[in-house]
């Protein structure tokens, strides 16, 4: 990372000729640097300072490092540095079976685990050629989970944004809806936990369907959530929408118009805030989204406030979709392996164990264990082969894109015909959008940087993978 002004300090070097005085900071030597700069008269002449914001700063949404060049309060130049959370998820997936890959990619963008899983599974299913054989019930549960996750993700962006702007109440109001700290299973994260066993990193969507059906009492819990959520969304909007401080901090901040969005590959709420109603759920539907009734919210303000409004509107639209999912599931009656499965009817792909949620977490169902251990040698062999070796996926490549809370999330998956992915690449919207930081922040005030980054809503788990 370079920047074209005096870096910091003691002892200038060769770079001086090109970049002015260069200081080298080695830590705990601030006094010496100040003294050196005073001596050289740098404070009187230049007035440009470089601030290293992050990688551990409460308002950089994770381990994001921003190298800022400031002229007074104005940000002259900004360079994001990333890679602090690189965990090699893509490489790791090449050494596990296709099914195990889900457990890795779910950890990429940890605020939208279900979306990572779905993008990957859709790509694997396209490679397998089983896209139209996924059971209807599994598709409905996928949509249900995706929309629940969209709500938690949007709240995970908006609520801390309030905190970063200095308003604790926005955070607590958001957390009331988002949940995650117990509370009777009626809040969004608690619902995800009830259904999958975990608040995040679910590994719930699998190639061929989903890991398990909704648990006993699941629909009732979602209904309870649906009856309460609109009120909480309303509370939050009453608090923020017309709040003069919030508007003052967000309106006309972080401007990015349509042409810039196209050039920078920006999608999602940032693109829809320019007035273009581009939503893959409508334009290139997957998981049966074409059969649901919902709207695509847009504004034409191109700013941070418009993006906030879109996210709030999308929460309401998600609630609408969840309601339709619940109605459909209720109309189908209780599921069952034979009658209404949630995993593809293909013994060579579908995970053999009907998973069930026990007191100690998710595991194979007792009936299945009894079957393979006591009744059928063939079933045991089949189970063993599928679990240890996994299934093979015909050679080729596929690119499956879905509309994540942040924009186009896609998985580029390559198979060489083996039991493990040859290459998986997650095209993460946070990674792409973070490139626009310089475009939206340079020339603005330092204080505007905070809502600007919050409105881009990058999640470093997805950026670095």
């Amino acid at each position: 990372m370079t920047s074209s002004m005096p870096h910091a300090a003691a002892g200038a070097s060769d770079a001086e000729a090109a970049e002015g005085r260069v200081y080298t900071v080695s830590g705990e030597d601030w006094d010496e640097i100040i003294a050196a700069a005073n001596e050289a008269g740098d404070f009187e002449s230049g007035e440009r300072i470089v601030v290293n914001m992050g990688p551990q700063h409460p308002s950089t949404h994770g381990v994001l490092r921003l190298i800022l060049t400031l002229e007074g309060e104005t940000v002259v130049e900004i360079r994001p540095a990333i890679g602090y959370l690189h965990t090699g998820i893509e490489k790791n997936m090449e050494y596990r079976t296709w099914t195990q890959g889900v457990a890795f990619c779910t950890r990429a963008d940890y605020l939208m685990p279900i979306f990572n899983e779905t993008a990957y599974c859709l790509a694997v299913e396209r490679l397998l050629g089983i896209e139209d054989r996924i059971p209807e019930r599994a598709q409905i549960i996928r949509v249900l989970m995706l929309e629940l996750n969209r709500i938690t993700s949007h709240l995970g962006g908006i609520a801390p944004m309030g905190l970063e702007l200095g308003a604790t109440t926005i955070y607590t109001q958001g957390a009331r809806l988002r949940g995650g700290g117990g509370g009777g299973g009626e809040r969004a994260l608690d619902l995800l936990e009830l259904i999958t066993g975990l608040r995040m990193n679910h590994a719930f969507i699998r190639p061929g369907g989903v890991a398990q059906d909704l648990p006993f009492g699941g629909l009732e819990a979602i209904r309870a959530f649906l009856s309460m959520a609109p009120g909480l969304v309303h509370d939050l909007r009453t608090l923020i929408d017309a709040n003069p401080v919030f508007i003052g901090r967000n309106k006309s901040v972080a401007y990015l118009d349509l042409a810039s969005c196209m050039a920078l590959g920006v999608t999602g709420p940032m693109l829809r805030a320019t007035g273009l109603p581009w939503d893959l759920r409508k334009s290139q539907p997957y998981c049966g989204y074409e059969t649901y009734d919902f709207d695509v919210p847009v504004t034409d303000t191109c700013d941070a406030y418009g993006r906030y409004l879109i996210r709030m509107d999308e929460i309401s639209e998600s609630l609408k979709i969840i309601k339709q999912c619940v109605d459909r599931l209720a109309a189908r009656g209780p599921g069952g392996r034979a009658t209404d499965p949630v995993m593809i009817r293909d013994a060579k792909i579908g995970w053999p164990a009907q998973l069930s949620l026990g007191p100690d977490g998710l595991g194979p169902s007792p009936e299945h264990i009894a079957h393979i251990m006591g009744q059928s040698m063939e079933a045991l062999i089949h189970h063993f082969k599928l679990i240890t070796e996994g299934f093979r996926v015909p050679a080729g490549q596929a690119y499956a894109a879905i509309e994540s809370p942040r924009g186009e999330l896609a998985a580029h998956v390559v198979s060489d015909g083996g039991t493990r992915p040859y290459r998986v690449h997650l095209r993460d919207p946070s990674f792409t959008h973070l490139q626009s930081v310089a475009a939206v922040c340079e020339g603005g005030f330092l204080a505007d940087l905070i809502p600007a980054i919050a409105s881009i809503d990058p999640v470093m788990g997805g950026v670095d993978r």
């Binding site: 196209m262 062999i381 050679a395 015909g417 290459r423 990674f431 792409t432 490139q435």
Partner: protein, 267 residues
């Protein structure tokens, strides 16, 4: 992912032969080299591309495809090499429009595009690397194409494809026409240079840095091709197939667990 293609001999873990579905046969040398326009990098890689994939047995078994009776998911289908016309869907329109646009620029379709693959509902243009910026510019600007959005670059490393080991894969999206295409460029490991697309699609900036970082593909003309995920002083490109995983054997309750690369594995 190891094992030379030409000698399908039993090895622990994986054996992969190229040949007809029944019995291993040397890789077909009769894959017409004439159809390659001459400068297609290497015939070896091409022969492998054209050979149907066949799997032999697990754990070194040669005469039967599987040791357990559970082998019905054997792969019969090779990666598609080239699709004949018509490609189906909107793919023919896109190919025609791209051909016309290139023609208007004084470039023949086959001068820029090596081959076209339509597979699993996705269209792939294999682009000659020197023509990549022109093709991308046409895809972006031609009114019949209008692929405004580039989803970035994804690298893939195929060490067995001699002469074309490194692939850079671009996914384009047209919002105007609601279409997608994929561009794929392959370059030899010895000369891993691909022209940068940053001037056409600025969004490729970080994506190209990432692909350089992970695969070592050098994007000529990139404004600042530095590492992005790995530390600046990192050696090697970690997502290449030949990148060592490292590790030491770990003893657990009397048993030695070998490091990842030495473990027995399928496929």
């Amino acid at each position: 992912m190891s094992g030379p293609e030409e000698t399908p001999k039993a090895g622990p873990g994986e054996t992969r032969g190229s040949g007809a579905p029944q019995g291993p046969k040397p890789p077909s040398a009769d894959v017409a080299p004439a159809e390659a326009d001459g400068d297609l990098a290497a015939r070896l890689g091409q022969a492998r591309l054209s050979a149907p994939v066949e799997r032999t047995g697990m754990f070194g078994v040669q005469d039967t495809p599987d040791t357990s009776g559970y082998g019905l998911l054997r792969v019969h289908r090779a990666r598609p090499i080239e699709s004949p016309r018509p490609y189906g869907s909107y793919f023919d329109e896109v190919a025609d429009a791209l051909g016309d646009a290139l023609q208007a620029g004084g470039l023949g379709f086959s001068e820029a595009i090596e081959r076209v693959v339509a597979d699993r509902g996705e269209l792939t243009f294999y682009v000659r690397r020197e023509r990549l910026p022109e093709v991308a510019a046409k895809l972006r600007d031609d009114p019949d194409l209008r692929f405004e959005l580039c989803s970035g670059v994804s690298g893939v490393h195929y060490p067995e494809e001699v002469g074309r080991e490194l692939h850079a894969v671009y996914h384009m999206l047209s919002i105007t026409h609601n279409r997608r295409v994929r561009l794929e460029v392959s370059v030899p490991d010895a000369d891993p240079h691909v022209p940068s697309l940053v001037s056409v699609y600025p969004t490729c900036n970080w994506h190209e840095r990432e692909t350089w970082d992970f695969f070592g593909i050098i994007f000529d003309g990139h404004p600042a091709l530095t590492r992005i995920e790995m530390p600046d002083d990192w050696k090697g490109h970690p997502q290449r197939k030949d990148y060592p995983l490292g590790g030491i054997p770990v003893e657990y309750r009397g048993a030695k667990i070998p490091p990842p690369e030495d473990r027995r594995h399928y496929s």
